[in-house]
Each structure stands twice: as C-alpha cells, then as structure tokens.
Symmetry: C2
Subunit: 338 residues, 2 copies
DNA sequence: CTGAAAGCGCTAACAC
DNA sequence: GTGTTAGCGCTTTCAG
C-alpha cells in the first residue's frame, strides 16, 4: 500500500538503519548516503508512519494540550501562547480537542501511551476529578483555567493555574455596588453543581451579603448553558420579571447577548442598566457599548502553565496551584448611580 | 512502564488474543473469560496503546478533519455538524488543527499513515494546491469552504464544497447598490494573492462595474489580515480619507470592528453609513446595530462534505464540486438612500 | 560509517 | 472458545 522505510532502503541501495538515521538527522551518515536517501524519499513522496515510530520510542518530549470546548474564544488566545511557550522550552505540542461529553482523562491516558507524552496541559474541563480518575496518568499535568475546586485530588499530585472565580465575581459585583447599585441582577448558567457558574454565583452572593444587600431570587436568572442564545432568552425573562439597575453576567458572551435583549426592552446600557462581566474577550471591545469586564490574564496563565510543567519535567520545580488576578477593563457599560 | 496486553493476559490467566477479543468486543469469548479480563483491566487501569493498534490494522473507518485556524468561529458550527454526520454515516472522526504556517497536506499524509484513515475533510486551507502537493494522499478528500480556485488540480481527483466567494460578494455589493448607494467602500484583507479576500474583492469590483460605478481606489482599504484589530485600524484610515454611504466588509468580524470605528468617527450605522458583510456569524445577531450579512449555510456545507466523502467511500458517488448559496440575513445595518 | 536483527504492543489468521 | 504466532513499520543496540 504505502511505501515503507524498507522500500526506501531498497531503492536507495542502503539499509533501513541508514534511512532511519537520515530521516532523524543523525550525524553518523556519509554525505553521499544522505543525499541519495533524501533523493529517493523526495522522488517517491515517502512519508514515515508515526504509529510505528511512536511504538518504538521511549519518550517523546511532547506535551499534549487537551482542550474541552475549543469553540470558547477565550481558549484560542491561551493556546497560541501555550504553543510558543512549549516550543521555547524545547518541547513540541500536540493539540487535542474533546467533545463536552467525552472524558478528558481517558483521552489523556490514551494519548500518553500512544504518543509517549512527557506532560499534559488540560484546558477547560471537569471540576471534580477523583484520585481514581487520574490513576491512569503517569506524567505530570497541569489544569489551566480551572483548579478542581470540587474534586478530591491530592494537591501535591498535580498543578493548576486559574483565576479565583468566586473572588473575581465578588470583585465585579463589588464594583457595581461601589458605583451605587443595589438592585443587581445576575445572569448565570445554573445554580449548584460543580461549575464555573456556581463559583461565580457564590461570589455574587457574597458581595451582596457583605454590602448588606438581601439576595433577591427574582434577580437571578439561569440560562441553562453558556450559549449566547440561551443567555439572550434568559435576559428577556429577567427584564420582564424584575427591575434592576445593574446586571452581572458570568461571561462576556452572555453579557453581550443580554445587552442586546435589554435594548429590545428599551432598557439602555448604561443609562438604565449597567452591565459587567468576566472574561475579557477581544470581541467585547467592539460591541456597543463597549463592555466593562474583568479580563482574565490569558497570556500569563498560559505561560505559568508551561513554566510549571517544564519545571516538573526538568526535575527542579514542584507541583503548585496559582490563582491569577483579572484586570479591570473599563468599557462604557457601567455608570455611577450618584 | 505501562501495562501491556500481555500483562493483562497473564494477570487474568488467559492469552493476549482473548484479551484482545474482549477489548474489541468480539463475539467468540466465553462470558467467564470476558468478565475476568474486564475485571483485571479495571483493576489495573489498563489503557491500550493506540499506536500499536493503528500499526497493525489495515483500515480504520476514520475520517480526519483537518482545520486551519480553529479560531475562526464560523468553523465551529461546521465542525459540529460534520462530526454528527460522520458518526451517522458509520465512521468516526479525528479532528486536527494545524497552525496557519503548517502544511495541511503533509499533516494529512502523516495522519493517513498513522491512523489508517479512509478519508479526509479539509476545513479552511490554501487555495493553490498543485498535483504534486496531493501526490502523497491516497484516500479521497474534500475541501470544505474553499475550492482551490487558484490551484492546478484535476477536478476529478477531489471534491469541494464552498460558496462562490466572488458571486456572493457581488450579491452583497449589489444589495447596497439596489438600496441607492453609489459611494461604497470595501474593507478587505489584501489585494491580489490567492485568497478569499481577493475573490470577494473581485465580486465587489464587478458589481460596481456592472452598475456603471467607477472603482475609486480611495474607497478600498486593506487590513492586512482578517483580525478585528487590523480591521479596526483600517476602518479608521478609510473614514479619515474618504466619504462613503456604505461599506462592504469581506467578513462579519471585520464588519463589526469597522462599525465600532465608524461610531467613533461620529458616523452612525446605518443612518450615515450602511454596512454589509459575508459570513453570518451567530455573534453579529447580538451587536448593535444587528449586522446585515450573507450567511454561509454552514450546516448544509458540512453535510454535503460528509455525504460526498461517504459516497466516494461506498463506491457509489463521484468527486464533485458544489457551490452553495448564502442566505441574506437582514439586520439593521443597511438603509435605503431614497 | 553501515547493516542485521531484536523488539515496541497489538491484531488476526491459524491451529487446537 | 482459546492460545500461538507472525508480522505492522520503525528505532536502536551491536557487530563489523
């Protein structure tokens, strides 16, 4: 079917070991043999079989990045930085996306064996690994953008880089309160459960509580997902049910959909209702009004993830868990209620 | 290092073939052996090595989807549909992203050997393959979203599903002309070259020509990329240099950035300037004003790609090249110049 | 510098 | 039903 290294050896009048050496840039090959092999490779469009290669090598200096939900535009920024950081550290990257219903740990375990990985970075994922779940993993791994807050893992056994979702949500809502708002609605995904939505919702509740504002259930609306369309409908329910002077959305995308819905209800942003969110998508710089948001430090998070993993691989460096801070990006969607 | 099928055979008191049969759900295994093997597999967290598996199988009923630039939000919609269509046809999907500087054909050739693919779908990619370039590919492939317009490939040798970029751009600009506009600016990526930008630019030129409107170079601005930020700056140059009553942007994202810039120049959309684009991103439903755009039929394109490939694989069906039509999505960004 | 040969972990005949 | 065994295509000692 396909040409093998054996065929190339035959056609170029050498042996498979010589061909292998040429292909892998080993020094111990005569210039003559090298040229000849390369010529045949070119001529016959030979492409080596990676499965065979992966099977025989012991370790591959490859770090896998396993992404859950690549549609998330926030991840694309992170991935870009992770990639260059991985190369800069002398490793190569293998990027894999998994569906939201797939098991990233199983995917990781299979890749570890298939590609002889030396490390793994999880980007987005479940929040509740158990020790059993990670038992198949033999290489160090770091969770980027989430910290297994709800899981039961030995913190010494892995690393994480994330924002403190609860704290940042607290800051966002606090920001609204400081601008004089007291009737603050929340647009979340769902209550309870082990998710980013729950953490950010808790931050919302705590900020209200600390300011002596009673939690009004009528001001909290669940979209059921992080999708813009669902957020759009949820915002309609909110607008029709309650009055509020400010809205905290758990994500930029949801905030954007909500703003559209508010304008349809003749609620002007920020004149009638201020809006704040968390994420800092590039995109929300371009909507009208520009969204005020707590921007996640994507680049720093990416860098920290790779640095941590590289430290682990080199032998210096230990597992650790870092929480980064967001940066307030002041848009035009929040006004003071003087 | 890792447990192998041999270890599992030993621990479960059977042979490797029995273990293999259990793992691959072959019928010829006693219930007793099956339970026993599964127990050991579970207990020792055994995970098979796919490289070894891929090496020995002849073909795998796997279709690879190779995406260039997964950041493109338009692709995520397509991928979702492609995935379910592939499963519905009885194949499994292997999704791979490649960087914009990588060679998708080399990636495809390697995957074909590594995973014993039976077919390939390219999503986004270069426009100028040559026959030499595809010489390494042995399985049928279809180009989704582009048609190798600038390439030199035998049309019988591959399939494509795309929109006719030139025609659709023509329609968009024609739409503006029918609304009374004559000073129509164009926001493109770059002039010349083998790209979607060039095709859409040609459509713009032709629509103007057909309407007897002279092409004014001052009304054409190149962003240099498809990025929002670059489009944003390009729109500023345009606004400062020329007067126009309408703007045609080659993509939704660029249009969105341009609208923001126009508003900064006190040019209201659509009162002072109408805006139209091509793509139909979900997102532009939520910006203000809602963007009028020619929506690419992502789902149909995805479906057609898989159907074509499946036909090729089954033996009925031949290579073909289909151009789909966009659907006008009327937003609020275009007004009539009565 | 070069080639022969021993596997890497798995599947699939092929015998039993 | 089950076990033995011959490779899949490649890298890598180990001799020459």
């Amino acid at each position: 079917m396909h040409l093998t290294i054996k065929d190339i050896a035959k056609y170029s009048g050498t042996s498979v070991s010589t061909v292998s050496r040429v292909l892998n840039n080993h020094p111990d090959v005569s210039e003559k043999a090298r040229t000849q092999v390369l010529k045949i490779v070119e001529q016959y469009h030979y492409v080596p079989n990676n499965s065979a290669r992966n099977l025989v090598i012991r370790e591959s200096a490859t770090i896998a990045v396993i992404v859950r939900g690549i549609a998330n535009p926030f991840f694309t920024r992170i991935i870009k930085t992770i990639e260059s950081a991985i190369y800069a550290e002398g490793y190569s990257m293998s990027l894999h996306q998994i569906g939201s219903s797939d098991d990233e740990l199983m995917a990781a375990a299979m890749l570890e064996r298939e590609k002889r990985l030396c490390g793994i970075i999880f980007l987005g994922g479940r929040f509740n690994y158990s020790a059993m779940d990670v038992a198949t993993l033999r290489v160090p791994f770091v969770c980027c953008t989430y910290a297994n807050t709800f899981g039961a893992l030995d913190p010494e056994g892995f690393s994480s880089v994330a924002i403190d979702d609860k704290r940042e949500a607290y800051r966002a809502v606090r920001f609204l309160i400081e601008h004089g708002h007291r009737r603050i609605a929340a647009l979340i995904e769902a209550k309870g459960g082990a998710s980013i939505s729950q953490l950010r919702y808790e931050g919302y509740c705590e900020a209200l509580a600390d300011a002596g504002i009673a939690l009004d259930p009528a001001l909290v609306e669940c979209a059921g997902s992080f999708e813009m369309e669902d957020a759009y409908h949820a915002a309609a329910r909110l607008a029709e049910r309650a009055h509020f002077t400010a809205l905290f959305a758990i994500s930029d995308a949801m905030a954007m959909a909500a703003m559209k819905q508010l304008s349809l209800h003749n609620i002007r942003v920020p004149e009638d209702c201020s809006v704040i969110a968390i994420d800092g998508l590039e995109l929300t710089n371009y909507c009208t009004p520009t969204l005020t948001t707590l921007e996640q430090p994507a680049e720093e998070m990416a860098l920290a993830s790779v640095k941590t993993l590289a430290g682990l691989l080199r032998g210096d460096g230990t597992n650790n868990h870092v929480f980064m801070e967001t940066k307030l990006r002041t848009g035009a969607s929040v006004r003071s209620l003087e």
